[in-house]
């Protein structure tokens, strides 16, 4: 089974990529009750584009998004930049492998990538002298991985052709 090539997609538009990142940032800035349990939407969308379009979105984009996240949250500048560049690297590196699996196994890969990203932030925070925020911190990345099939479906929506066009 090769899900990625089961359907020929339209080329991606730049506006889709930028719009999806803006929406992900918006979701991250929403006032969530407990932030440890909420998935990092920017990380998820970044992983998606790095897996799908490794030549368009890569480490540079991840780094800039990380800086925006850091400044927006008022935390130490560079910690999310580091984590997101690591995430982009892992996603680009695994991009050819991930797309051969079905949605479940793809989610497992993404869970691992998101956990490594979270761990990078955690290491930086602990090194900076912050206390350990507790084990619920790993729930966010796992939720993110569970959302992966949904995110794939949503983000590929603008690239899908109508049924009629496919039949030709």
């Amino acid at each position: 089974m090769i899900p990625s090539s089961s359907q020929i997609l339209r080329p991606v538009r730049m506006s889709t990529v930028i719009g999806s990142f803006a929406i992900a940032l918006f979701l991250n800035y929403l006032p969530w009750p407990d932030l440890r349990l909420v998935p990092d939407f920017v990380a998820l969308v970044l992983a998606f584009w790095c897996v799908r379009q490794p030549r368009l979105v890569g480490l540079g984009v991840g780094w800039m998004l990380g800086l925006l996240t850091d400044a927006g949250n008022g935390v130490l500048l560079g910690q999310h930049a580091l984590a997101y560049s690591l995430l982009a690297f892992l996603s680009v590196w695994l991009s050819r492998r991930i797309l051969w699996f079905g949605p479940m196994l793809q989610s497992l890969h993404i869970a691992l990538i998101l956990l490594v990203t979270q761990a990078a932030v955690l290491v930086v925070r602990l090194a900076a002298g912050d206390p350990f925020p507790g084990w619920p911190i790993i729930i966010g990345p796992i939720f993110g991985a569970i959302l992966w099939p949904v995110a794939t479906w949503l983000l590929l929506l603008p690239q899908r052709r109508p049924e009629r066009e496919q039949a030709i």
């Binding site: 803006a22 940032l25 918006f26 979701l27 991250n28 800035y29 929403l30 006032p31 969530w32 407990d34 932030l35 440890r36 030549r55 890569g58 480490l59 540079g60 991840g62 780094w63 990380g66 800086l67 925006l68 996240t69 850091d70 400044a71 927006g72 949250n73 008022g74 935390v75 130490l76 500048l77 560079g78 910690q79 930049a81 580091l82 560049s85 690591l86 690297f89 680009v92 590196w93 930086v124 925070r125 900076a128 912050d130 206390p131 925020p133 507790g134 911190i137």
Partner: protein
């Protein structure tokens, strides 16, 4: 004829090289930001870039609030109105007494030759959002340097102090909450005037008094207010209520746990207090009461606070 490969194969440096480059750039930024704070300009620009999205993210709450106010029952409105009226009545009495006491205090200060205390100005602000960071206890408000907010100003809500402005961006500023482990506030027990320094308790949502002698006269239920001797917080603002005291035989210090009186994790509107006192000249012997009343991070403010500190007197308490 050139022998360069077609652009098809041009993919730039290898991913591992890029990772190394960006990781070292991030680490350099981290060190520079943590140790030297050279990149605050860059941070302000980035915060300005993120502002439209942050602003937009508060929109769902506005919708929910306006919907709920639209759908609220008449009975609940009447009830709320009555409650507010009763509260207003109580407050009016206090306010009249306050004016009288203030004029009396001014008169007495003039008689003993102390400098007059200037009124504390308050600027209302709306909480934009809490920081998306489970480690930091911060929030963001929608007033920045464009509206005259200054770093170091105390922030309070209707029931007490919630924290201090630690960073000011053009359109928004960052408030470090009292529960942040790095945040300290000088307090005073209302009952007997005992002074202490309260530190944030982190994830527990409490604040604690450290380094209190084991025989310190503190009881459960004691109210703590700001003592004002640091010159940053105006005196007399409600801070916390003592809920638990641990007097350990092994240690010489008692640990006192207090519950913040302000709704630190709830509420929507806060007041930024601009404590713009005319800085009095520094007296020669004014060096006694200056322990650790500052946030450990704000080194720059220490000096100005120390200059202001000795002239501050403890005013009446708002309880």
């Amino acid at each position: 004829m050139d022998h360069t490969p077609p652009p098809f194969f041009k993919r730039g440096p290898a991913p591992l090289v890029r990772l190394f480059f960006f990781a070292s750039l991030s680490l350099a930024l981290l060190v520079v930001d943590a140790r030297f704070r050279y990149v605050d300009g860059l941070r302000s620009w980035l915060a300005l870039a993120a502002y439209p999205i942050q602003r937009a993210a508060t929109w769902p709450i506005d919708v929910v609030q306006s919907l709920s106010s639209y759908l609220s029952m008449q009975a609940s409105l009447i009830e709320e109105n009555q409650r507010l009226r009763a509260q207003l009545l109580a407050n009016v009495q206090d306010a009249q007494r306050y004016q009288e006491l203030q004029s009396e205090a001014t008169e007495m200060r003039r008689m003993i030759g102390a400098t007059e205390k200037l009124p504390v100005l308050a600027q209302p602000a709306e909480i934009l959002y809490l920081s998306r960071d489970p480690y930091a206890h911060r929030l963001f408000i929608d007033r920045g340097s464009a509206q005259g907010v200054k770093a170091g100003s105390p922030v309070a809500d209707d029931t007490g102090v919630i924290g201090q402005v630690t960073r000011v961006h053009p359109l928004l500023s960052e408030v470090t909450l009292l529960t942040n482990p790095d945040q300290a506030i000088p307090v005073q027990v209302v009952r007997n005037g005992l002074r202490a320094v309260a530190f944030g308790g982190g994830a527990s949502g409490m604040i604690e008094l450290r380094y209190m002698p084991a025989n310190a006269e503190v009881q459960d239920g004691d109210k703590l207010v700001t003592s004002g001797i640091d010159g940053t917080y105006p005196p007399g603002l409600a801070v916390a209520t003592v809920v638990r005291i641990e007097r350990d035989q092994e240690r010489s210090f008692a640990r006192v746990y207090c519950k913040p009186s302000a709704g630190i994790e709830r509420g929507r509107y806060v007041l930024v207090l601009t404590n713009e006192t005319a800085r009095p000249p520094r007296p020669e012997e004014g060096t006694k009461d200056r322990r650790g009343e500052k946030t450990r991070r704000s080194k720059g403010k220490d000096k100005s606070a120390a200059e202001k500190a000795p002239e501050k007197a403890v005013s009446d308490d708002p309880q």
